[in-house]
C-alpha cells in the first residue's frame, strides 16, 4: 500500500480475500485440511529420518495448483549435504 492510498483511507482487502480464497480452495479441492497436512509432514519427517539425515525444521510441504493439476510439493533439505562437501582425505 502506498502513501497516497493510505491517505485516501484505502485498505485493499480484496487482495487478502483472494489469497485466503486460493489457500482454502487448494485444501478443499484436495480434501486435505491444513492441520492434516501438518500431520502428514510430521509422518514424512519420521519416515525419511529412518533412511536419511534431514533437518526437520527446514522441511516445507504445501499444496499447489496449476490449471487442472493439484500438487503436493515437499522441499526437504538434506542435513548431510554440508558433510559431503568435506575434503575426502
Amino acid at each position: 500500500m502506498n502513501f497516497l492510498q493510505r491517505l485516501r483511507g484505502e485498505s485493499h482487502s480484496a487482495a487478502t480475500a483472494k489469497n485466503r480464497l486460493q489457500f482454502v480452495l487448494v485444501h478443499d479441492r484436495a480434501d486435505l485440511a491444513p492441520g492434516k497436512l501438518e500431520a502428514l509432514k510430521n509422518d514424512l519427517i519420521e519416515v525419511l529420518s529412518r533412511h536419511i539425515e534431514i533437518d526437520p525444521r527446514m522441511v516445507q510441504i504445501s499444496l499447489t495448483r496449476d490449471r487442472n493439476q493439484q500438487r503436493l510439493v515437499a522441499d526437504i533439505p538434506l542435513a548431510s549435504a554440508r558433510a559431503r562437501r568435506r575434503p575426502l582425505n
Binding site: Q5, E10, A14, A17, K18, R20, D28
Partner: protein
C-alpha cells in the same frame, strides 16, 4: 424445439438464486420465449413472492408429483408476460417429498410446451440440490464477490461436474463497482481466475432489486434498473447472442462516467 432446462444454484444461501431465476425468466419471456419457472426449494417457497404471484397459488410441485392435480393446474400464468409461468414449491413439505427422478419426469413433460424451464435450486448440497440439477441441460452458479460465497461456488462446481452436468456458467451477483475500484472487493477477474469457469453475467448491487421484491415485480421488467439490465443481458447470452460485458468495475461514479465519456468520444 423442446425446452432447455436451466438450473440456478449456488451452494451458499442468500446470494440471489431466486432473484436471478425470476429476473432471467422475466427477461426471456419479454423476448417472446415460452418460459416456466420451477421453484425446487421445497419447504422454503419464495420464487412466488419475488415474482409477485403468491396470491394465485392453488396447487404446487409436490401436488403434481403425488398426482393430486394435473401439471397445467399447478402452473400460474403471469399476467404481465403471457408467456411466463410459475410452478410453485410446496411450503409445508420437505425436500424428501421429491426425488431426482420426479424432477426429470416433470421436466420431460414440460419440455415440448416451452422454450425454457428455469429451476430455482435450494441452497446446500443435499437432496434438494440434487433434485434441482437432475433435469438440467445448463447449470448457472450464482455467487457474490465474497470469500465464503466463492468457496461454496467452487464446491458446487465440483459437484455439478461430478454429475456430468458441467461445465456450469457463473453469475457474479452484487458487485459494488466503487468497492472494487478501491481494492476492497474481489473483482470479476479475480473470481474468474479462482473458479476457472465461463462467465455469463455480472450483476451490480442495486437498490432496485429490493424495491422490485417489495412490489413483486422483478427488476428485469424495469427498463431503468441496472441490475435488471444485467439480467436481460444474461437472458440474451443464454439465447446465444454475443453481448459484451459492461465494465461495471470502472463504474458509475463521476470519474467512471467521465472516463467512459472520454473513451467513447462523448457518446456516453
Amino acid at each position: 424445439m423442446p425446452a432447455k432446462v436451466v438450473t440456478i444454484t449456488s451452494g451458499k444461501g442468500g446470494v440471489g438464486k431466486t432473484t436471478a431465476t425470476a429476473n432471467i425468466g422475466v427477461a426471456l419471456a419479454a423476448e417472446g420465449a415460452r418460459v416456466v419457472c420451477l421453484d425446487a426449494d421445497i419447504g422454503l417457497r419464495n420464487l412466488d413472492v419475488v415474482m409477485g404471484l403468491e396470491n394465485r397459488i392453488v396447487y404446487d410441485l409436490v401436488d403434481v408429483v403425488e398426482g393430486r392435480c394435473k401439471l397445467r393446474q399447478a402452473m400460474i400464468k403471469d399476467k404481465r408476460l403471457p408467456e411466463l409461468h410459475l410452478i410453485p414449491a410446496a411450503q409445508t413439505r420437505d425436500k424428501t417429498a421429491l426425488s431426482p427422478k420426479d424432477m426429470v419426469r416433470l421436466a420431460d413433460e414440460l419440455r415440448p410446451e416451452f422454450d425454457w424451464i428455469l429451476v430455482d435450486s435450494p441452497a446446500g448440497i443435499e437432496r434438494g440440490f440434487r433434485n434441482a440439477i437432475a433435469p438440467a441441460d445448463i447449470v448457472l452458479i450464482v455467487t457474490n464477490p465474497e470469500v465464503s460465497a466463492v468457496r461454496d461456488a467452487d464446491r458446487i462446481i465440483g459437484l455439478v461436474e461430478a454429475e456430468e452436468k458441467g461445465p456450469p456458467k457463473l453469475v457474479l451477483n452484487r458487485i459494488k463497482p466503487e468497492m472494487v475500484r478501491r481494492g476492497d472487493m474481489l473483482a470479476t477477474a479475480d473470481v474468474l481466475e479462482v473458479l476457472a469457469i465461463e462467465l455469463i453475467g455480472v450483476v451490480p448491487e442495486d437498490d432496485s432489486i429490493l424495491v422490485a421484491s417489495n412490489h413483486g415485480a422483478p427488476a428485469a421488467l424495469d427498463g431503468k434498473s441496472r441490475a435488471g439490465r444485467a439480467f436481460r443481458d444474461i437472458a440474451r447470452r443464454l439465447n446465444g447472442e454475443i453481448v459484451p460485458f459492461e465494465d461495471a468495475e470502472s463504474g458509475d461514479g463521476l470519474f467512471g462516467r467521465l472516463a467512459r465519456l472520454v473513451r467513447s468520444g462523448g457518446q456516453a
